[in-house]
Symmetry: C2
Subunit: 166 residues, 2 copies
DNA sequence: TATTGTTATACTCTATAACTATA
DNA sequence: TATAGTTATAGAGTATAACAATA
């Protein structure tokens, strides 16, 4: 069950990655792949993808949330949120309820089954996170989170009028 | 041209992300999205996607590389490498050459046009990297790279026999 | 007019299985 | 039998345009 990751390691030793080795975008993609694989494999038992887990988690902490807010907070488009939530609903893990005062909006909730499953998933997630914390150390992990948030949270505060060719 | 990122920021202020706020997988996904968008927008002028750029970069530093090694080093499957390289070849940016001694293998090279375009892309990339370095500071950036490599490079050194339910 | 949710659609990246031609 | 490259195909995430119902 070696998952053929030896190949990658061997190749990296033989191949000169050049500037890629110090590019943020590349390092992020690789790290995300490794962490993502671990999560995906962990959640596979419950047939839950990371994205569904994220949605459930947000709903647990914000019962009655609107779809627009939920998707914006998770960084996905309203339009892509719909089929994801449909899946949770069809599986009996979450539900849409009507909102008094705005007949367009839907309030989102986890069901009992959803909450039950979620608490199992949270254990799995904690286990996976612990795995990586072990590799980075507690401070390393905290540092990494801080740096990632500094990259991700701000979005852009720079204007896009920099179309000057080099 | 506000790219509707205000919505995300507003939503995040209103929504309690709970454990997601301190999960590596989530922070990585968000950071990768921001950095990836910036790269994608930068490269859009030349109609080059980040993945094509990575391939070109590796080829520049390893002329004559075999496909298997190239794809393994970049962390993508041989099978997915093929159409990507086909695209480079059809656009006259790279080419496959026969290898003396092994008629199965192909040696990959950038063309003159490929090298010319690549040097332009490298400027664009440097600009984008600088943008994020400015946000993190030089040490912050170095720290981040180190931590990401510690996550990504090792792949797994842990066995998969941990299927114990909690 | 603007907003909430929705459908339809397409593109990119990723993943598996099976094939060919060599070795 | 194994390896290098290839084809076909499917899944998952993300993007845009356009619509209905409601505000």
């Amino acid at each position: 069950m070696a998952i053929e990751l030896d190949d990658d390691a061997t190749a990296k030793r033989q191949v000169n990655l050049g500037p890629l080795a110090t590019m943020l975008s590349f390092a992020l993609r690789r790290a995300q792949a490794v962490v993502g694989e671990d999560f995906q494999r962990s959640f596979a038992v419950e047939e839950i993808r990371p994205m569904l887990f994220s949605i459930m988690l947000v709903l647990k902490h914000n019962p009655g949330l609107r779809q627009s807010l939920a998707s914006a907070a998770l960084g996905i488009k309203r339009t892509n949120f719909v089929p994801l939530f449909d899946e949770l609903q069809e599986r009996g893990l979450a539900e849409r309820r009507q909102v008094a005062g705005d007949r367009r909006a839907a309030a989102l909730f986890l069901t009992e089954a959803g909450l039950t499953l979620l608490s199992r998933l949270e254990h799995v997630s904690a286990h996976s996170e612990a795995h990586f914390t072990a590799r980075l150390g507690a401070e390393g992990r905290a540092q990494l989170l801080g740096l990632l948030h500094r990259l991700g949270d701000t979005a852009f505060d720079v204007d896009t009028s920099e179309a000057q060719a080099g």
